[in-house]
Symmetry: C2
Subunit: 285 residues, 2 copies
């Protein structure tokens, strides 16, 4: 997502000068060649020296060590953000150890993830018309002040259409439902399909037999296992709670199937669709 | 799917003359106007009189009553099929009551469903490069004989790229996994999202906040509730068994999350992806 963001910023009328850093030298060189970066550094600390903006694109559990590494090189006026999918563990560490060092930090989460990653998967239009969550980490003043406006403008430049400002805990509980649950579901579906069914079902060949529905449901099951293990566990409490909510709905559905209650099952599915349509109408207001 | 099939057949070089029937007069008239049908009849029995081919596109539980209705009007040489998503209950009723009446019956299931239905949703390219399952219902001879060739050709004309011949029970157990489980999952996800989260999460607004992942996973949750309640319950045994398989995988994933075992969770996700890649390689052979 870092590479896509660099690509998006390079498309605006007066594009910024972008210095980048990644431990993967090969990726860094590719980003230079593609014009996503103007300068590449193997060390994060070199890349942030004198920067107006710092964007950290890394798995959530890695970010505190990056904060530690760059802290001595960050000037007080620098505007900082990250793109992590889970915020509460970061926020806690931030408040404890970095709140006095980074005084203009608003954490971000644009709803624009994909199952691919790295420079080759970069898409400058990735953020177009997407929503970004903004979570102030520094002391109050960001929510309504001039600084928050700059973060909003930043994401508008990248293409985002709208934003929601909220706290880390609410962010994580919302994300558990709209993103982490779908990923867990999709992974478990892949796990189900890859059982040894061929022994019992001689014509079993899901890749050749799948229709559009299955392809759609499996797309995100190809997401990075290390990144997603990190996300699901960093957001453990909210994800566990959400899996329980989901389990209850699935149980209700299964109960009707087991009891052969066609009409009641149809009513349940209709009720979900009606509530969904209501939510969509509300969501568009 | 019936309307899409009519559209597909109308696109071939020497298109067949198509007589259609549906209890919905309005849909029938639309199909005539769109050129999907040459003649429309409100009664199934009128539509099949003297036909070379009969295709029944109806929810699985409705089909036996259609068989009963049209039986007196079907000639022995007519080739017959249906497009139902569940075959075993149909097959049992067929063997018991219709095997001597319909002697050229091979049930079909093209893997080309969509969440939309009716004449307005018809797409003549719906079957292009899709696989179709073929399930012989009549007495042996169809599997390798001249008649099966005609069913294969029929689906090739409609655009299907390949086919698999198998029995009703295996079809239903495969479909439980590649189609009915994904639908159950998607419905339950919609059920989860439409809970009253707004009371606890003031910024909750999943329709505005969803990324591409959620949109993909929810697409099929808008499928027809009556059709899908019928399918899930007609295939009750296989669907229940499959939901148990899925529940076990989801439990394993949840256990690692609850225990905070990031590395083991990443290994589990990687193992599923590796098996999936193996299956895809095997599936393409």
């Amino acid at each position: 997502m870092g590479a896509s963001l660099a690509g998006a910023l390079k498309k605006i009328p007066a594009p910024p000068f972008i210095r980048g850093s990644t431990p993967n030298l090969h990726e860094g060189e590719k980003a230079l060649k593609k014009g996503l970066l103007d300068e590449y550094f193997p060390e994060n600390r070199q890349a942030v020296e004198g920067a107006d903006w710092i964007v950290i694109a890394a798995p959530p559990s890695v970010i505190p060590s990056i904060w530690e590494e760059i802290a001595p090189a960050v000037s007080p006026n620098t505007l900082m953000t990250d793109l992590a999918s889970v915020k509460l563990p970061l926020y806690r560490q931030f408040r404890e150890r970095f709140a006095r060092t980074f005084i203009n930090y608003v954490s971000s989460h644009p709803m624009a993830g994909r199952e691919l990653h790295g420079v080759d998967a970069a898409r400058p239009d990735l953020f177009r018309d997407r929503l970004t969550f903004l979570i102030p980490f520094s002391d109050p003043g960001h929510e309504t002040g001039r600084d928050m406006e700059r973060f909003v403008s930043f994401w508008k430049s990248a293409g985002c259409g709208t934003h929601t400002i909220l706290d880390a805990m609410e962010h994580d509980r919302i994300l558990a439902r709209i993103s982490h649950l779908p990923h867990a579901i999709s992974f478990a579906l892949l796990g189900t399909l890859t059982q040894n069914y061929r022994e019992r079902l001689p014509h079993w060949n899901w890749p050749a037999q799948r229709g559009g529905a299955l392809a759609d449901l499996l797309r995100i099951s190809w997401s990075s296992p290390t990144l997603w293990a990190d996300i699901l566990i960093q957001n453990k409490d909210a994800v566990t709670e959400t899996l329980e909510d989901y389990g209850r709905e699935l149980d209700e559905l299964r109960k009707h199937i087991e009891n052969g209650e066609t009409e009641r099952l149809a009513q349940l599915l209709s009720a979900w669709q009606e509530k969904g349509q209501d939510d969509i109408r509300y969501g568009q207001l």
